[in-house]
Amino acid sequence: MTTTQEHQPGHFGPYGGRFVPEALTAALDELEQAFDLACADPTFALELSELERTYTGRPSPLTFASRFSLECGGARVYLKREDLNHTGSHKINNVLGQALLTRRMGKQRVIAETGAGQHGVATATAAALMGLECTVYMGEEDTRRQALNVARMRLLGAEVVPVTAGSRTLKDAINEAMRDWVTTVERTHYVLGTVTGPAPFPRMVRHFHEVIGRETREQILAVEGRLPDAAVACVGGGSNAMGLFSGFLDDPQVQLRGYEAGGEGVATGRHASRFATGAPGVLHGARTYVMQDEWGQTMPSHSISAGLDYPGVGPEHAWLHDTGRAVYEPVDDAEAMAAFEVLCRTEGIIPAIETAHALAGAMRLGRELGPGAIIVINLSGRGDKDVATAAEWFGLPGAGA
């Protein structure tokens, strides 16, 4: 048991819970029961770890970033290489677990929301692997920003539905996925892609990503002989961060640092900095920090990174924030893109723009902690999907042609 385990069932302190239409209660109960039974069943763990080893390619390496370290005030920086997983991000960890659960529940169809497209691609992949029908909801704005991932999902046999409601981004894709789910719940499982949503999703999605923290802890102990001074991740909904943080929650000497999207700058109002500007409220089935106006209407979020462009955050992060166990800071678009370029040129790794927010955070933190400090960063995804956005940002020859 860690210090942040749920207090009441389904809650993290005052956060989390279930704020859903009654029609979904039975499905959430069924899911919770299937998940708890699976957790107690060694054959489930075996099946999942076999998939992780032979399909995802786990364990993912921990790479010492020697040249990038020089940009981080001389702190020794390690990269947890979730970008090397099959499908190119950490998202596959959660999706394989939930796809196995879908089969155990006897359902034939999965649906998912996606922002950057990484979760949609991972879900389409698992659906193909396990012979499930798959529909992915994606904000129309995001289908444009992430056209490559739309094509990948379609190649994998998934139906991609562009969502034209509201701000046409991740939040609206979740609304639409919920509407589908409440209508088709008898044969459909909703593979929610992050540690948000009604219970049991935050606990379950975290569970499937704990492998990140477990491996990182072992790997850093093996190479450095001690725990890191800080564990760093970007935070949209917060699944990659929860996966990494879970390995160090009970080690108070390890700082936990989450970086959310500062967009065009927190002062401009065009950002996705829930902790910097939000207030506790309810969004998408859980109580958490929400960007909202004085009337409780959700405010639109903005970020160059589709995966961080979300006005809510996982409820366990809200609790870690309030208790002070983790610290969350915004990183704006420009700072993230600068870090993106630095990693490309120092390590030969093109990160996802989401991940670049964590890299920028580590550059700040490294200068604060100084030489001798050890920092692990969750390199949550690779940047192939972002090449066009980055080329345009940096004004590379041929961009926009």
């Binding site: 704020f19 859903v20 239409p21 009654e22 039975a26 209508t183 009337w295 409780g296 209407q297």
Partner: protein, 268 residues
């Protein structure tokens, strides 16, 4: 002073018919127009009005209501505007409840919202995304202000779940006829009669059926087994399609009259 929910249901029962409940979002298409439309609804024969509180993320609603609330929010409809609409229609003797997603209440302040609603003359609140497990503060606040609390049950609800939901409900129990979002449908779900039957084992409260009812014939069908018939999207759609405010009011009145005839129809 408008009649309480209990009084309205008692009278409908006395008349040997189901009550007719109509939904419209406040501020759609404007605050003043929504008051007029609600009055037209009641003049046409609606017994109880659900005043919708427009919310940015209406994940239980289909396209018609989504379009309406987007328009209402775009026009600057705030929680205070909603309460003002309730106050205005209550002043005309109309029995009104508020239908709202939970976050606007939490943000407004649970006690403050309950107090202001009671002051405005509202009789209760329907909360489609609030479950009994999360409702402790709400139960206190509504109890102190003598407001009815309407929770929902669905075809997927177990009997134990229906017991639980009914135990914290007052005014009436809202039975969602189908697994799905709001919107007019060609047929009312066959799951509804069975759900109402199960709900009757759990509670003596009136059981009202919503989701998918749009015509007098459907209202008559539902009225044969339920204490109340709830209609929302069909009203909203008529307003969306109307060419002028006058036509919208006329269409709302005509639909209300058709539905009101339906809930009074005697089984052949």
């Amino acid at each position: 002073m408008s009649r309480s929910l209990a009084e309205v249901f008692d009278q409908a029962r006395h008349e040997g018919r189901a009550a007719l409940i109509g939904y419209l979002p406040a501020g759609f298409p404007t605050a003043q127009e929504s008051v007029e439309l609600i009055r037209a609804m009641v003049d046409g024969g609606v017994d109880i009005v659900e005043v919708g509180l427009p919310y940015s993320d209406p994940l239980m609603d289909g396209p018609d209501i989504q379009a309406a609330v987007e328009q209402a929010l775009g026009g600057g409809t705030t929680t205070d505007v909603v309460l003002d609409v309730v106050e205005q229609v209550s002043a005309h003797g109309i029995t009104a409840v508020v239908m709202t997603y939970w976050n606007p209440i939490e943000r407004y302040g649970v006690d403050r919202f309950a107090t202001r609603l009671a002051q405005a003359g509202g009789h209760g609140v329907i909360t489609p995304d609030l479950t009994p497990e999360e409702a402790a503060a709400w139960i206190d606040a509504t109890g102190r202000n003598d407001l009815d609390r309407v929770f929902l049950v669905a075809p997927s609800s177990t009997d134990a779940r229906i017991d639980r939901v009914a135990s914290v409900s007052s005014g009436f129990l809202y039975a969602a006829s189908t697994m799905g979002v709001t919107g007019a449908r060609a047929q009312v779900s066959s799951a509804a009669p069975e759900l109402v039957e199960r709900a009757r084992h759990a509670t003596d409260l009136p059981v009202c059926v919503g989701l998918g009812v749009s015509t007098g014939d459907q209202a008559a069908e539902v009225a044969a087994y339920a204490d109340g018939v709830i209609v929302g999207s069909a009203f909203v759609r008529r307003i969306l399609q109307a060419a002028s405010p006058a036509e919208a009011r006329e269409q709302v009145g005509l639909l209300a009259a058709d539905l009101a005839e339906g809930v009074r129809r005697r089984p052949a």
